[in-house]
Amino acid sequence: MKKYAIVGFGGAGYHAAKAIRERDPAGEIHVYSDTGFAPYNPMLTTYYVKGSLPYEALFPFGDLEHIAADLRLELHPNCPVTGLAGDSRTLRLSDGSEVPFDEVLISTGASAVMPPIPGLDLPGVIKMRTVDDAVGLKNLLDSGKVKDALVIGASWVGIKVVEDVVERNIPCTLVDGAPWIFYVAAFPSTAQRAQKDLEARGVTVSCNQMLDHIEADENGRLTAIMQSGSRFSADLVAVCIGVRTNTGFLKDSGLAQGRGITVDRRMATNCPHIYAAGDCCEAVDIQSGQHRNIGIWYNACKQGAVAGTNMAGGAAEFDANILCNLAHYLDYDFICLGDVSACTDSDQVYEYEDERYYIRAVRRGDAIVCINMIGSAGSNGLVRNLFIKSIENPHAKPDLSAVCQLQKNGFPDSFIHFLGGISID
């Protein structure tokens, strides 16, 4: 009988457990978590704050008790793992005990970055990642005490916090240290348009603003002082400047790491029988062929399932890993497919704009490098799929059905040609 360890119980951990149980009815599955929560989706936090869903729905797979019963898991809640011996697959726990396993999955996820900047611990300064973060912000906004807000970081989380605030008719300012918003995904012109549209919704936006520190006055009112000297005052300051993988405990484990644990398409690490999945890992990005941390819920679930299958003796690969960022806020949507940072000045640029869509996309020879689209939510899956197909086969053409859908959805033929032309085979 095999003994499995799952370290970290989010989307990846849950799907791994499920996949293991499907293949191995008898195996012993131990789940370690540093919280007592059922698996939850960090992406849902801002929706909970907004009131779009009840607290229970933060936990898409149900409560811990039922999950444990259904999948017959040995749960170890509030039991942080402090170390791992990669060669012997032995976990070290906070009480110093050591437990060996046959198969180990690391699925510890990521945490919001809170750098050592003065003032980040002040009351009214928040981050947004965990269930506690969400409950805290919701209570704060519900209290009615927040008259204005400052969001630091025009990231995917930052923009959702902006939405939470704006939907309550609270004046909001968004600042970012980069020269334009959505810096890691948007072309400057895309960002410019998104910024203009965001400002039209009443949000003040300021870029090139690196935070120096935050001060509070005697009433608790906060002021963020920037390295530029600019000052932004607000009752609430949300710091949304990125996430970092939860891999500190693996320092001496022998696992290869970059910005996360390096895994192959099978989600296997360099140490036999040790796997990693979800936001803590770097899987193969099929566009660049390099390892890359692409932390989205879908990847976490899929990677977990792939890892679980392989741990239980099956054979599965995760092959749809591309950079893909969807920002959907205030009835607005912006998507970036592919790697904006890989674009160079000599690439072929496609641009299109009408009342409905904004598109900027880049191609290098046969390969699509990056696509920015605004207003395209209903077609994002179609375009993403065509992008993936073009990576697998640069000469693949959009199929007839996709062409028809894109045409009907109002995309110009020129964009369809950019995506690879038209085929009727």
Binding site: Y298, A316, I335, V403, Q407
Partner: protein, 174 residues
């Protein structure tokens, strides 16, 4: 018994009876801006050689065996009905984040503005369970759109299925 939608483009004329059947079954209020779950296409595609191809198509959720929308949903709204094999959903907790739409290679899930939730074709799951055809299939006069059991589909040797596309996109469990 697992079911498969089969589409024969040589019989379709994009008459949209399938869409009307869907509207009737699902009480679609078009005046409120709602749209049904199936779409037809009467497109003219200009080809590189100067020719024009007249396409007549009907498309909705393909009910992929290994449906990417299910895992893409952060709230867990989507699932497979073990009896029919259709990709079904309960959008009570849907947050309208459009992740399912981003995962779907066919553009099937749709955002419904009136309540901010996603909706899609559920294969008329309950009708099929009760021995009836999906409403769109029932409304097709030309045999362009049919729904058969997986066994029937395999036996027919047809590759006209929506399933052919699914295979092409590796959306079937390997």
């Amino acid at each position: 018994m697992k079911h498969v939608f089969v589409f024969d483009p040589d019989r379709c004329c994009a008459c949209s009876a399938c869409m009307i059947g869907c509207m009737d079954q699902n009480d679609i209020d078009v005046d409120a801006g709602e749209a049904c779950y199936r779409k037809t296409f009467d497109n003219e595609i200009e080809l590189a050689d100067g020719g024009v191809y007249c396409a007549y198509l009907s498309a909705a959720c393909m009910h992929c065996t290994d449906a990417p929308c299910i895992d893409a949903c952060p709230v867990g709204c989507l699932s497979k009905d073990p009896e029919t094999g259709f990709t079904v959903y309960d959008n009570t907790n849907c947050i309208g984040c459009k992740s399912c739409a981003m995962a779907c290679p066919f553009g099937a899930p749709r955002y419904r503005k009136s309540d901010g939730k996603m909706v899609k074709c559920d294969g008329c799951n309950e009708r099929v369970k009760n021995g009836l055809q999906p409403a769109c299939v029932r409304a097709c006069s030309f045999g362009a759109l049919t729904c058969v059991t997986e066994e029937e589909y395999q036996a027919s040797g047809s590759n006209k299925a929506c399933s052919a596309l699914i295979d092409q996109l590796h959306l079937r469990k390997k």
